[in-house]
Amino acid sequence: MSIQTAVLTARRSITVERRHVLAGLLVFLGLIDALVFGYLASKGDAVFTFTLTGAKVNVPNLVLAPGPVDEGLGALSVLLGIVYATFDLARVPRRLIAATCLVGFVVSFLVWSDAGRIPLPFVSLLATTMSSSIPLMLGALAGCLCERSGVINVAIEGQLLLGAFGAAVVASAFGNLWLGLITGALCGGLIALLLGAFAIRYRVDQIVLGIVLNVFASGLTGYLYDAALVPYENRLNSPQTFNPIKIPLLGDIPILGPVLFDSTVFLYITYIVIALVQVGLFSTRWGLRVRAVGEHPEAADTVGINVLATRWRNVILGGLVAGIGGAYLTIGSVGSFGKDMSSGQGFIALAAMIFGRWTPLGAVGAALLFGFTTAVANVLGTLGAPIPSDILLMLPYVATIVAVAGLVGRGRPPKADGQPYVKA
């Protein structure tokens, strides 16, 4: 066997020990499905509705009895776990199995929580997930842009906050939402400018810097809020919000339409940014250079890539993207600005980026997962479900700790991430 194939096989399979740990996890999930959710469910069926009022196509409600459904899903999960442990599977079946068990767990959890209660509006749950994930997705993509070029961005929170502030004020003062959107992006870029100046030029520790910039953004917006937005609320802090745009034809598809194609312009911008960042980073010359700068700046410099300029460009781009995410918080959703309204979403975005192993698609997937958890927690709160929403809301953070501890596949940051570059 040549060295190359040895490396390839080593990359594809995982150690026996880890395989058993993961299989154990799947079996454990299955047992919870069957024993906890299956047996302890209240009497009565769980009803999921799939049709929003006014939809053209009527999808029938799904009525599930908690007992058989949860026990069936549990049994499936246990079975798949045993398969996982016994055979040395390739990567794709491994992932499929893990995904099936995870989805099964979520479904049996929802069936358990909804059993005997009012119907669960599944489509609006997913639609809420999409819209509330917008700042998370954009923040995580901003993180990817910065960190792939070797600059750690802990200041996403501050970029969201200042973006939200700028968007609300300008949209309100000039009565123009698009102007607000642009200002939001520029405000995110402003924090990025500070991040770049101190990280790239003055070579300050980037984690310290990110934290301090968050405090700065919180103080600045808090001060201006009290000094200007409260006394002149009508003029400076009563923006309109973007209306949802339903895309013709696509928006009428049952279930998918209202979730994916009937939202504000922010969701469509997010789609575009996802595509641009993914394709840009991995299929263009620009992306190759960015990744080279993030992994090995000396080598990149040797072949003539301007390391500092590349980093500057990416930091600013990231700031603009996060700023748009911030603008969503005001003019995309609630309208007026409130103190510290980003409320830790920048840190969830950071977590999503790490959870997604510094890749745009992974980061977006993680952001959606986190958004879904939050949406479920909120819906279940209104249903009076048997689990406290505070515990559910903890999940994204616990998941991230589990991920960085290497239990479920450890990511590797770009090699030169956080290291200032000094030309030799």
Partner: protein, 438 residues
């Protein structure tokens, strides 16, 4: 020119409160060994921008920027700028008045208020004279403790962003012991304070343990744990065990009188024994760092963990011990708040202490003495900010802006040297940048 002396002076100036008085027998101010005047050496130190000079310049710059922010958002000042051409002097006078008024109100509420002094001479209350200082100490207490937590971890090369989560852990246990347990007078308060330490230490230990066993980056774990702890306290305050009877909102019963930290100077001034706990903790951290084997290992691991390992030390066990103690210190901050000033647990009890602690530790250059001084400064800013808002209607958030600007400027000595045209020299106490993998 002897480099040794220059370094000596620099060390002297950077020692807290050290100043230029040296007790090494050459006599203060008369001159040094090679005949070079000490004054010249000090001047050199200033021009080269050592760490104390950079700190002073950073505070000065932040005050200037903050003053401009106040001057350009104050409505009367903005009105005066509008009439710049008809009455040019007025705009500058108004701007100066707004900024200086804000800062003097801050000073009066944080250090000493001349009106209160004058009143005291005319038979007014004497305690009122000391009230600003008491408020400064009260505000500084949790900052010192949480700041020490961050500083200690820093010295071991760890970045503890989890002071907020550890604070909650400490506050939860100290508070619970305070309101749910019945103990005799002195014992109750001591047990609750120890409980605070333990609560924070558990959270901190978990971080160190994960890093040692799996290599999980402490920055990510601590950020995530902050949120986990925020939701945990929210959840617990929803349970009947932690809920105050007859209150619909999440708030705990008040801690028993036996468990509160006693006031130091009568019941009017809020300064309490928590301040002494904080000072004692600073002394203990100094002793730990400078005079013990653990401290030596800790600093060695912090400056180069590979070298420490070659020398037979275990970075892993050092990380666990450091995070345990650091978590405990932040937990003490939680106990100081719940037993000293707030007396109840609320979901927002952690306030902004987590991030304030980082700014304090950075400004104090991760040294116990420096952290105490930085905490007193920020404590004074907080106390002063509240008084300023009451007097001048300028929002207290300006304090947060000042705080972040000071730290931002301190973290970038090259920037201060550029702005103030100082001679460039070796980086004076600049933090070495690390990445996720560092």
């Amino acid at each position: 020119m002897s480099e040794a002396i220059r370094a000596d002076v620099r060390a002297d100036v950077s020692a807290p409160g050290g100043g230029a008085t040296r007790g090494d027998g050459t006599g203060a101010g008369s001159g040094s060994d090679d005949g070079r005047p000490v004054a010249k050496a000090i001047l050199d130190a200033v021009l080269e921008g050592n760490s104390v000079v950079v700190t002073v310049l950073a505070i000065f710059s932040a005050v200037v920027v903050g003053g401009l922010l106040i001057a350009f958002t104050d409505p009367p000042v903005l009105h005066a700028w509008g009439q710049l051409f008809s009455n040019p002097g007025n705009a500058f006078v108004q701007a100066w008045d707004a900024a200086s008024g804000a800062y003097s109100a801050m000073f009066e509420s944080a250090i000493i208020n001349p009106h209160a002094v004058a009143a005291a001479f005319h038979g007014g209350s004497v305690t009122a004279v000391f009230n600003p200082l008491s408020e400064t100490a009260v505000n500084a207490t949790p900052l010192i403790l949480a700041g020490l937590s961050v500083a200690l971890a820093f010295r071991a090369g760890l970045f503890n962003i989890g002071a907020a989560g550890q604070f909650i852990g400490g506050a939860m246990i100290a508070g619970w012991i305070g309101f749910a347990v019945n103990l005799p007078v002195v014992i109750h308060v001591v047990v609750a304070v120890i409980g605070g330490f333990v609560g924070g230490a558990i959270v901190g230990w978990f971080v160190g343990f994960l890093k040692a066993r799996t290599g999980a980056h402490e920055v990510i774990v601590t950020i995530m744990l902050n949120y986990v702890m925020e939701f945990l306290i929210l959840y617990l305050l929803g349970l009947t065990v932690f809920r105050q009877k007859g209150r619909p909102d999440p708030i705990s019963p008040p801690v028993a009188g036996n468990a509160t930290l006693p006031h130091l100077f009568g019941s009017v001034l809020r300064v309490n024994a928590g301040f002494l706990v904080a000072l004692a903790a600073a002394a203990a951290v100094w002793w730990l760092l400078e005079r013990t084997t653990i401290g030596f290992q800790l600093r060695t691991v912090g400056s180069n963990s590979k070298a420490a390992r070659s020398a037979g030390m275990s970075p892993e066990s050092t990380w666990i011990v450091v995070m345990l103690i650091a978590g405990g210190l932040a937990g003490l901050a939680g106990s100081a708040v719940v037993q000293g000033t707030d007396f109840v647990l609320t979901p927002q009890i952690y306030g902004t202490y987590g991030f304030d602690a980082i700014t304090v530790a950075l400004l104090g250059r991760a040294k116990p003495g420096g952290t105490v001084l930085a905490s007193l400064l920020f404590g004074a800013l907080h106390a002063g900010g509240i008084g300023m808002q009451a007097q001048t209607q300028i929002p207290v958030d300006i304090v947060t802006v000042l705080q972040s600007l000071i730290v931002l400027f301190v973290a970038a000595p090259p920037l201060m040297r550029e702005v103030f045209r100082l001679r460039s020299t070796r980086a004076a106490g600049q933090l070495e940048a690390r990445g996720w993998s560092g």
